[in-house]
């Protein structure tokens, strides 16, 4: 199969990645080759085989609902690119707000 330029650009938008025209061609060709190889999974995976999402059969691992130690606010914010009044600061999200 061959991914179209539109498909590559659509997936890039979903993933919040930006590509130049050249990169769209390069990645499109590489992804198509990898997907051809990967598509072989459909040849062996019969309908009656259940899927495995995780090697361990764990379901809903809970801890007791008690307050424990956590990072102090200033440490949690210490790695942020921009901070104001003890909060993460980001550019405008909503138009006209």
């Amino acid at each position: 199969m061959r991914l179209t330029r539109e498909e590559v650009m659509h997936v890039a938008r979903l993933a919040r990645l930006a590509f130049t025209d050249e990169e769209v061609d390069k990645f499109g060709a590489q992804l198509s080759a990898i997907l051809d190889h990967a598509a072989r999974v459909s040849e062996v995976a019969a309908d009656d085989v259940p899927p495995t999402s995780h090697a361990l059969p764990l379901v809903n691992v809970f801890r007791d609902d008690v307050v424990g130690d956590c990072l102090p606010q200033e440490k949690a914010l210490s790695t942020a690119p921009d901070v104001e009044d003890g909060r993460f600061k980001v550019p405008r999200i909503i138009e006209g707000a």
Binding site: F27, A38, V41, A45, S53, H54, A55, T79, P81, P91
Partner: protein
């Protein structure tokens, strides 16, 4: 008399306890060794000599006060740069985390600090552990100590090369599809991929959360066992960590293999595997037979298709995990973004090509209309891989298989062909999909007089048995020669 940097971890620990060497002397010997060889090897992204000196000093002070030292107190260790270290830059090999200084320690880092193991530095790796050569590091390639023109393997290539070159006796890496075992094989050292859940992942920068596992490198099986012993166990901070008790791997390591049933994986011995690699694995099988094991061939039909499933599952999980690099809480953010989507998108431009490729692949495989055909089918293959192993372990106690189809390849040889690079993980991926344990150890030299790695594979939580098997094989083989850099300078 060996130089201090030439000693194995077990010998160093003994020498410090006996008062023959101080932890400070041991650390200084390694710092000098790193300074001399780093220009050639480039095993480290961030060496931490001052931290190592402080930690060694604390061990010496504790000994002077008469305190009882832990089993590996004073033994220096190198850490892959995906493991968060409080106050020490942790990049994951990525420009997006170039200036990231974690505000906390990974659980295993806390364990190593308490054990009194000085940290030599953060080792080089493929970006976010995605790769098989360290060529995807944003901070330059690591060179194989056996031949500087060749890759050390990856993604934990820096940790493997450091141990092989005598820059540290032991190190830690992570293995999502072979990223400990493959570089261990290519650098001629021991590497352990523990059972999924055996070692806490808290503070490990995530790649594919259902596959990632932390494990040790060493120059001997015993050293690797001693390190795994220290970092294993349940952690309430990792909901997937195993509650199973941790056996004493070192105590039972020399209990032998007589009477055990060994399966040689047929799919590992096909046309794609170099003749020199197959010859060493055949010889290893003969050694096991000579030690009283029954040896027979076993087929794991899903071995080949596991690679295809892996290259859907791992990218799918990666595309989700790496969504966190959005320029908000940590990592790189572009200046002058016009809105938040622009900021997200342009900040993520800092990812390297392989990371972008896998995010794209995973996003595609999970997107509407393709989920069932790709990700859903890959999950079914994962079931088939687990079933194949379960069938095999009805007849065999453990399996053996080459770790990699070839010895170390040249830097640049596969850099422009992602699919060819992926094939070097063909024999390591099934253990990750099954959540099982595996050890790679050297078993002689193959093509181009380079090391060959053999895997011993077992079911989940079989580490104790696998260490026994690996130790028995190691003792029965001629010791591997040292790489050319061993004598210099």
């Amino acid at each position: 008399m060996s130089e201090l940097w030439q000693l194995d971890a077990t010998e160093i620990a003994r020498a410090i306890k006996a008062g023959e060497s101080s932890a400070t002397e041991v650390v200084e010997a390694h710092i000098a060794r790193i300074e001399a060889l780093e220009p050639e090897i480039h095993a480290f992204i961030t060496p931490t000599p001052d931290l190592a000196r402080r930690q060694a000093n604390a061990v010496d002070a504790a000994k002077a006060r008469g305190e009882t030292l832990g089993p590996l107190a004073g033994v220096p260790i190198a850490l892959k740069d995906v493991l968060c270290t409080d106050g020490v830059r942790t990049t994951a090999g990525s420009k997006i985390l170039e200036n990231y200084i974690p505000p906390y320690d990974a659980t295993i880092v806390t364990m190593l600090r308490r054990a009194g193991m000085p940290f030599l530095g953060k080792t080089n790796q493929d970006e976010f552990a995605m790769g098989s050569s360290t060529e995807n590091s944003a901070f330059g390639v690591t060179h194989n100590p056996w031949d500087l023109a060749r890759v050390p393997g990856g993604s934990s290539g820096g940790s493997a090369a450091a141990v092989a070159a005598g820059l540290g006796p032991v190190s830690l890496g992570t293995d999502t599809g072979g990223s400990i075992r493959q570089p261990a094989a290519l650098c001629g050292v021991v590497g352990v991929k523990p059972t999924y859940g055996r070692v806490s992942r808290y503070g490990l920068i995530a790649f594919a959360s259902s596959l990632d596992q932390i494990g040790p490198f060493g120059r001997t099986v015993r050293d690797a066992a001693a390190v795994l012993q220290l970092i294993s166990g349940y952690d309430p901070m990792d909901s997937t960590s195993a509650r199973a008790p941790v056996p004493d791997y070192v105590a039972s390591i020399d209990h032998g293999v007589e009477g055990l049933r060994v399966g040689v994986v047929r799919e590992g011995m096909g046309e794609g595997t170099q003749p020199g690699v197959k010859a060493r694995v055949d010889e290893a099988a003969a050694r096991f037979a000579g030690m009283g094991c029954s040896v027979d061939e076993v087929s794991l039909p899903s071995f080949d298709i596991a690679l295809s499933a892996y290259y859907l599952i791992a990218p799918a999980e990666c595309s989700s995990n790496l969504a966190r690099y959005d320029g908000v809480r940590y990592g790189f953010r572009v200046e002058d973004a016009k809105d938040v989507v622009d900021m997200n998108t342009r900040s993520r431009g800092r990812f390297g090509d392989e990371v972008k490729r896998r995010i794209m692949l995973g996003t595609y495989a999970l997107s509407a209309g393709y989920y069932d055909a790709y990700y859903g089918k890959a999950q079914k293959v994962r079931t088939l891989v687990i079933r194949d192993f379960e069938e095999a372990y009805k007849r065999f106690d453990f399996l053996i298989c080459p770790t990699t189809p070839t010895t170390a390849f040249k830097i640049g040889e596969k850099a422009d062909d992602p699919l060819a690079m992926y094939l070097s993980d063909l024999f390591t991926i099934p253990s990750n999909l099954a959540g099982a344990a595996a050890i790679s150890l050297p078993c002689g030299l193959g093509e181009d007089e380079l090391p060959v790695g053999i895997q011993v594979l077992g079911p989940p939580l079989s580490e104790e048995l696998l260490f026994r098997a690996a130790y028995a094989l190691e003792q029965s083989l001629e010791p591997l020669p040292r790489p050319p850099v061993w004598e210099s300078p």
